[in-house]
């Protein structure tokens, strides 16, 4: 046994000649997530052309993002960046009136060394709108890491003084009109009540706000926890829930954040906020007493910023992808908050049972991850638990410390399922990978669109990896969606196989 199974995972590194999306693509999902934001990408035609091609039709729905396209006079430093950005930002303020403008620095601003961080504060005070600067460029980062730079930038600039502004905005009529969640409605409803309860304790300060929130959330929990009898919590845990503050970070559609929030509520854990929140004005309180936990594996910079700058205590856990990951994630949070998880084992088992029809399709099949979005490790771990064999996990970058619990769970999954550890290849070389795919002939290659059609033409089933970034894959509820994606090529090919046209290139089947 021991000779067959290496004791630890082996990490390799290749040339970095691989295909992935530029990190500026994060504006596509972040502008939709943060409803009162405007994203300004400061770059060239190349950036703009990428965005409009990669984001397809989204571009036509009056997006809250635009390019500040650098022209020859800008790169030749003949025009002052400050004046130019001021002109554009005033135009944006006039046309869209956002609550925050996020500047996305690109490769070009790096190369010509535009001091965006230096310009932003001055312009911010002039224009009256917060400006967040994120350097999401292709020189340093890949694809989903773009989100990491934006969230890290938001976490970095977050200051207690900001809370006063926040308080103002929150109590404004704009906030009253927002229909974002029951939580907020409750908060407003309870505000008068709370004022009476807390009495004179420094209104307008942050403590006041947090207490208010806690109060309304307790109420919220009371309402939601009465969903069904078996979800009733032990009295002890109910009392504990006031003691902690938990902020989750990572951008997911509102449906998924509701699902994960409810999943934790079942354990008696209040989620006091999300980074990012659906509105920039509603950023959660951060500070020493706040626990933070990531829901995505590409958020290591954000984690570091929250830890170092905001002094939050970071919970490193596996990521809530697949029922195994979700359970591991909840258990870790529970253990840090000194709570006993309950009902998780059964919940996980029920989900696995409900996946059985899909599992029959994937068991024993092999997968090859070419790597482009950093979700690869947790997806591979989940697929191994599903009974698949993973040959290679290509990945742009691994933060071994941040991903440690996930890597441990991957090892555990391999041992449990009695399969070989996969090869972990950081900064892969797509050309070499295609050679390896030719030798290994996996049942499924998870790859970018640049390689998908050519591989299909050579009889290799593929799944386009970017779909995993946009689909809802988190939590117990969405485990099925991951398998829906993974099995789609297998089901399609099953339907077509009897036709006998798998090789569709004019060679001898060479890749």
């Amino acid at each position: 046994m021991s000779t067959l199974f290496p004791e630890t995972l082996i990490f390799e590194c290749e040339t970095g000649n691989y295909h992935t999306f530029c990190p500026i693509s994060c504006v596509a999902w972040l502008y939709q997530k943060v409803e009162d934001s405007f994203f300004l990408v400061i770059g060239t035609k190349t950036c703009g052309y990428f965005l409009q091609n990669a984001l397809g039709v989204m571009i036509f729905a009056e997006p809250r993002y635009a390019m500040a396209e650098l022209e020859e006079v800008d790169v030749a430093a003949k025009l002052e960046s400050y004046d130019e950005l001021k002109r554009l930002c005033f135009q944006i303020k006039q046309d869209r009136n956002p609550t925050v403008i996020v500047w996305i620095g690109t490769c070009t601003t790096e190369v010509i060394q535009t001091d965006l961080e230096g310009i932003a504060p001055t312009l911010e005070s002039e224009i009256g709108i917060p400006i967040v600067v994120a350097r999401a460029n292709g020189l340093d980062y890949a694809f989903t890491q773009g989100e990491d730079t934006v969230l890290a930038a938001i976490a970095h600039r977050y200051q207690p003084s900001y809370s006063q502004k926040l308080n103002k905005i929150e109590t404004s009529s704009a906030f009253l009109n927002s229909d974002d969640s029951l939580l907020k409605l409750n908060y407003i409803r309870q505000k008068t009540l709370a004022k009476n309860t807390i009495g004179e304790s420094q209104p307008g300060t942050f403590k006041f706000l947090t207490k208010l929130k806690q109060l309304s959330q307790t109420l919220f929990l009371k309402i939601t926890s009465s969903f069904s009898e078996q979800d009733r919590l032990p009295q002890k845990q109910k009392e504990k829930q006031k003691d902690h503050q938990l902020v989750l970070f990572g951008s997911v559609p509102n449906t998924v954040s509701t699902q994960l929030t409810m999943e934790l509520q079942k354990q008696g854990i209040n989620v006091t906020g999300w980074l990012p929140s659906p509105r920039y004005a509603d950023l959660p309180f951060l500070g020493k007493e706040v626990h933070v936990c990531a829901i995505n594996p590409f958020l290591s910079r954000t984690a570091t910023t929250l830890l170092r700058r905001q002094k939050c205590s970071l919970i490193t856990a596996p990521f809530p992808i697949g029922p195994d990951g979700t359970r591991g994630w909840i258990e870790k949070i529970c253990s840090v908050l000194n709570l006993l998880p309950h009902g998780l084992e059964k919940r996980e088992a029920d989900i696995w049972k409900s996946l059985e029809d899909y599992l029959q399709l994937v068991r024993g099949k092999s997968v090859f991850f070419m790597g482009d979005n950093l979700l690869e490790i947790c997806l591979a771990r989940f697929l191994i638990r599903c009974g698949m064999i993973v040959y290679e996990i290509g990945i742009p970058y691994i933060d071994k410390k941040f991903q440690a619990p996930e890597l441990a769970l991957l090892e555990k999954a391999c041992q449990q399922m009695n399969v070989l550890f996969p090869r972990l290849v950081e900064r892969p070389d797509n050309y070499y990978q295609v050679q390896r795919i030719r030798e290994l002939q996996p049942d499924l290659a998870i790859t970018g669109m640049a390689h998908a059609n050519p591989l299909e033409a050579r009889g290799v089933s593929t799944k386009w990896s970017v779909e995993f970034t946009f689909a809802q894959i988190h939590g117990f509820t969405n485990a099925r969606d991951i398998l829906e994606l993974v099995t789609r090529p297998l089901r399609r090919n099953k339907a077509l196989d009897r036709l006998g046209w798998t090789q569709l290139v004019k060679t001898n089947g060479d890749i």
Partner: protein, 513 residues
């Protein structure tokens, strides 16, 4: 700086890569940061390419910024030359790497010393030329390189072919219906007794470029790409070229006329294709008959707007006005570099001319003029959707649906049929919508929804409904029905968010499709 949401023409290197990857066995190496190689995605998805796009990035990262990329680029050239044995490697910078001002020319020559392939550095300025101009330039650069190479090696054969022959220049990958156009032009040339010598760059081989001068003349069907090459060959070898776009019946007649003149001059005897043109116009193409039919009568004086690249916008404007009696209230192009030519072409066949690459200006113009139909790019199609005006797509930039599998040329006589269909369908769809509006929509609507209603026995809580609203419209109905089915089965009367999620997790509902 310019505030931009959308652009009609891409950055310069896209043009270069389109030309390079159109040739057989030519490899493009992009000196670019990570993520700039989405050209491969476009080609693989839009063209549904079966082969790997022969473009590799040589990644510019932090390390390269500090230490320079000489070693890396040269290594990548040599490696690619060994792995794929391309005839030619084209090295191209992107916007960013241009700014690094590295000696790419030097890297290219060092790369070529270490490899068996020829190596060329694409000569372009990202901040001055766009995709189309760069493609034109790169094609000329490649052709010039191989002509000069052949000259140096005394390997240039300039004797003309025995039979009249022509080169087709400018058809390339990701071009709007270019494959179909080439096939149609080949067919017509065959019927005229003209042999096709070479088609460049699409499917051409750089090793055969030295055979270009053997053709009697050149054909440049599109205004945007190929003219520089044609005029280079004219200067070098006195090869005449036809630059008329063979689009529409009148355009076709003019194109054939030009060819006959060239052949007359070169063969020193009268070559006349008048009978051929007449037969094709009246009987092979249906377009002439279509303009006479009562369908087309209904189009008389209908107002249309045209916008696109110079070639397509100018030709479609002329077809609508001269061949169908449609009033073109405004005609425009985003090819600002070719504005004079465009104005000259559409003068007298439209009321207004617009030259801009700002899609909001185009949108405002359309909103102001309220035409019955638009003929434009994908952008105009979306503008039309917003304004409720039908749109026929006649030019790049385009989506995957504009790379049809069926035979859909825009050029030649079959092209005239395709264009007639497109124009007619755009207008009738608009008329159909208009009639539906007058009669209050389809009368079956109510009956259909009633029979699908399944809300018996359970009601939705407010939060449940709110969550339901978050679900994308096209699946909302299905999610609603499934949740209600689940609730009924479980005996739940009040549907909360929790119940929705439980329903999703339940096994027996969706199953495997």
């Amino acid at each position: 700086m310019k505030l931009a949401y959308w652009m009609y023409a891409g950055p310069a290197h896209i043009g270069t890569l389109r030309v390079a990857s159109s040739f057989k066995n030519v490899h493009g190496i992009m000196h670019a940061p990570l993520g700039d190689d989405y050209f491969n995605v476009m080609r693989s998805m839009l063209e549904r390419e079966r082969d790997f796009t022969p473009v590799t990035p040589s990644i510019v990262d932090r390390h390269v910024l500090t230490k320079g990329s000489t070693h890396k680029v040269v290594q990548n050239i040599v490696r690619k030359s060994r792995e794929d044995r391309p005839d030619l490697v084209v090295l191209t910078p992107t916007c960013t790497s241009t700014l690094l001002q590295e000696d790419l020319e030097g890297f290219a020559s060092r790369g070529s010393m270490g490899s068996r392939s020829d190596v060329l550095l694409a000569d372009l300025n990202h901040y001055r030329v766009n995709e189309l101009q760069a493609a034109d330039r790169t094609l000329e650069q490649v052709v010039r390189f191989y002509i000069e190479k052949a000259k140096r090696q005394n390997d240039l054969d300039v004797t003309k072919t025995a039979q009249p022959s022509a080169n087709i220049i400018g058809s390339f990958t990701l071009g709007f219906h270019n494959h179909h156009d080439t096939r149609e032009l080949k067919r017509i040339l065959y019927e005229l007794g003209v042999k096709v010598n070479q088609v460049v760059p699409e499917g051409g081989s750089v090793t055969k470029l030295k055979l270009l001068p053997k053709a009697w003349f050149n054909i440049v069907p599109y205004r945007e790409v190929g003219l520089m090459t044609a005029s280079y060959l004219e200067k070098q070898f006195e090869m005449p070229y036809v630059s008329v776009t063979p689009m529409g019946l009148v355009g076709m007649a003019a194109w054939v006329e030009d060819i006959s003149k060239i052949l007359t001059r070169q063969m020193k005897k009268m070559v006349c294709f008048k009978d051929y043109v007449d037969r094709q116009t009246r009987f092979v193409s249906q377009a002439a008959w279509f303009s006479r039919s009562i369908d087309c009568q209904n189009l008389t004086g209908k107002r249309a707007v045209v916008f696109g690249d110079a070639t397509h916008a100018a030709s479609i404007t002329k077809i609508l006005n001269r061949e169908m009696g449609v009033q073109v209230v405004c005609s425009g192009t985003y090819c600002k570099h070719d504005a004079d030519w465009f104005r000259d072409q559409v003068q007298g066949v439209c009321n207004e001319v617009i030259i801009t690459d700002d899609h909001t200006t185009v949108g405002d113009m359309i909103a102001r003029l309220e035409p019955a139909a638009i003929f434009g790019t994908q952008m105009e199609r979306h503008i039309g959707k917003r304004l409720g005006i039908p749109c026929g797509v006649i030019s790049a930039p385009v989506h995957i649906q504009n790379f049809p599998l069926g035979f859909r040329p825009f050029l030649g006589y079959e092209g005239t049929n395709q264009i007639a269909d497109l124009v007619y369908n755009s207008f009738t769809l608009g008329m159909e919508d208009h009639l539906l509006e007058i009669f209050g929509g389809h009368d079956t609507k109510e009956v259909v929804t009633r029979s699908l209603s399944t809300t018996l026995g359970c009601s939705w809580s407010n939060e449940g409904l709110k969550e339901l609203q978050r679900i994308p419209g096209f699946v909302r109905g299905k999610v609603k029905r499934n949740t209600e089915k689940f609730a009924r089965k479980m005996g739940i009367s009040d549907i909360t968010v929790e119940v929705m999620f439980q329903a999703k997790e339940a096994v027996d509902l969706g199953g495997i499709i």
